[in-house]
């Protein structure tokens, strides 16, 4: 095994049960260095359980959980990870600077406070109590706490909930910088466009199983591939019968068509309706693919 190739973290054949309920049913997942891995899935799919195991907060009933080849419960392992948990509320009466000072003290190679505040864009409210900040500002503080120890592996649980578009983009930029420096990131998010923008790899978790895993492009390819939209008088019922068309629907004078391969359908549309206008062909996004994958897995 080469240290640069071995994953930053992995779950191998991991089973976790809560009473009669099996939260994770033998999952395998690797989180690679220098990459963002997005763990997606509907609520109750087992994402929180997987994170809890990776953080060493609970133990698997079977299988192995490793971070940098070690147990996640070791202090030396934890000194190499950063955590942003969606569910955690920080003490509201402590000032931002105090929270940073405290959390930084846990890490042997913590970033200097000034640099950290600049990086996370929280310089102007270091002296304000955490509870007086807006939801978006609190997220930024939580993110700063997650990266304060210069971690090699970063857990981001719904990192941009409550952030405006600008703040979200700036957080993404920092994540990309960290990843460029070799940091491994595990991202869970409800925003599929976030996974699409950040993730190198995506794993979709459903009812305790990983139902699909791959690069964003591979996952996207599993969904409906193309959406065609145009103004046409062709009846939707007729278009739906064409080979390769999975869906056709009319909305006022707009016609929406879904197909795996767009070209033959577009050719035929143009042939059969010389008055066709406003033709638009779009590749389906991760969101559509995700909906389809989770629907099929049920």
């Amino acid at each position: 095994m080469n240290s640069t190739k071995s994953p930053a973290a992995m779950l191998e054949g991991v089973v976790k049960r809560y009473g009669a309920n099996t939260a994770l049913d033998g999952i395998n997942l690797g989180i690679e260095r220098g990459k963002v891995t997005a763990l997606l899935g509907p609520n109750g799919a087992g994402k929180s359980t997987a994170i809890s195991l990776l953080l060493g907060l609970s133990l698997p009933d079977a299988g192995r959980v490793e971070i940098f080849g070690e147990s996640p419960r070791r202090l030396s392992t934890r000194q190499r990870i950063g955590v942003m948990l969606q569910s955690a509320t920080l003490p509201e009466t402590l000032r931002v600077g105090e929270l940073l000072l405290l959390t930084s003290s846990y890490y042997p190679q913590a970033r200097p406070l000034d640099a950290l505040a600049g990086l996370a864009g929280i310089g102007e409210f270091l002296n304000r109590p955490y509870g007086k900040l807006s939801g978006g500002q609190q997220r930024r503080v939580q993110f700063a706490l997650a990266i304060c120890g210069a971690p090699e592996l970063l857990f981001l649980d719904e990192p941009t909930t409550g952030l405006d578009i600008e703040a979200r983009e700036s957080l993404w930029t920092i994540v990309r910088t960290l990843v460029g420096e070799g940091c491994a990131v595990l991202l869970t998010t409800h925003y599929l466009e976030e996974a699409e923008a950040l993730a190198d790899r995506v794993a979709v978790l459903m009812r305790g199983h990983i139902v699909t895993e791959g690069t964003v492009d591979e996952i996207r390819a599993q969904g409906v591939c193309r959406r065609i939209r145009c103004i046409s008088r062709l009846p939707a019922d007729q278009v739906r019968q064409w080979p390769g068309v999975s869906k056709a629907a009319r909305q006022d004078h707009w016609l929406d068509v879904e197909t795996r391969t767009a070209e033959p359908v577009v050719r035929r549309l143009l042939d059969e309706d010389p008055c066709l206008a406003e033709l638009e062909v779009r590749r389906a996004g991760l969101a559509e693919a995700f909906v389809q994958i989770t629907k099929e897995a049920v």
């Binding site: 133990l59 147990s71 030396s76 000194q79 990870i81 402590l94 929270l99 042997p108």
Partner: protein
């Protein structure tokens, strides 16, 4: 099966040993933040710092001194010091622990590389600091307004008793904070705090209460602490100092061990 894996033999990945950070620094910061956090939260700082003083002023000084002499003044000082010492342990430790659990802060802390034990040690230390402050404030009131006169050594001993006497209540707070849900914890704590202070004879002498209450009093840690406080300020004690110390130490140990086991349940 555990997550502990011995990969040293197979993996050539460089093992980076835990870089030792002085735990003392983390502990001091953690205790300081825990203290500041409570001091700045009125729902804690008022019942911990203001209520005991207010009650002492009302019942101990204005009412009490009117009906008793110097020995009554000392008696009330001991009682209200113990009343003030109970709050930082029960409220300060118990309610914050229940809140930390409820709001996911405990889980986050456990995921962070904080050396084990520091979280609890910081909470206990915070309660000792508050107990020390409360006892000084009560003693200042006693000396200035209550005309209580004591040799310096006895003031000092009362202070030391307060600082260490909070520990059984902190341990009980830990236990309740481990078992009770966040929103229910303040209610449960108050259901322990106020009745226990009454049943231990802090508000009315046990001799004036039904016999059964006096008989059950040794079950409550506050009873033993108030007996020690009475003997510090010079009142005759009912049974030996050693027995009370032993009872308090034993109770603190039992609560603490039970709380640790309860906290382990969450892992």
């Amino acid at each position: 099966m555990t997550a502990q894996v011995d990969s040293g033999a197979i993996s050539t990945a460089p093992r980076i040993a835990a870089i030792r950070i002085p735990s003392v620094r983390i502990f001091l910061l953690e205790a300081r933040m825990e203290f500041l956090r409570l001091l700045r939260t009125p729902s804690f700082s008022v019942p911990i710092l203001v209520f005991p003083l207010m009650f002492y002023l009302l019942f101990g000084i204005f009412l009490g001194s009117r009906y008793g002499g110097a020995s009554a003044g000392r008696h009330l000082l001991a009682n209200f010091t113990v009343f003030g010492v109970m709050a930082p342990g029960l409220l300060g430790v118990g309610v914050t622990l229940a809140m930390d659990r409820d709001r996911g802060l405990l889980e986050l802390k456990r995921a962070l590389p904080m050396p084990p034990g520091i979280y609890l040690a910081a909470k206990l230390t915070m309660s000792m600091v508050f107990a020390g402050i409360v006892s000084i404030l009560v003693m200042v009131l006693a000396a200035v307004l209550g005309q209580v006169v004591l040799p310096l050594i006895q003031w000092g001993m009362l202070f030391v008793l307060a600082v260490f006497g909070v520990l059984p209540f902190s341990a009980l707070g830990l236990l309740v904070g481990t078992l009770a849900k966040g929103q229910a914890a303040p209610a449960v704590i108050n259901l322990i705090y106020l009745p226990m202070s009454f049943l231990s004879g802090l508000w009315m002498p046990l001799q004036l209460l039904p016999h059964v209450i006096a008989q059950l009093a040794p079950l409550w840690p506050a009873y033993h602490l108030v007996q020690l406080a009475q003997s510090v300020v010079g009142a005759p004690e009912r049974s030996g100092v050693g027995a009370h110390l032993l009872a308090l130490g034993g109770m603190a140990a039992v609560f603490f061990i039970a709380a640790r086991r309860g906290l382990g349940r969450f892992s």
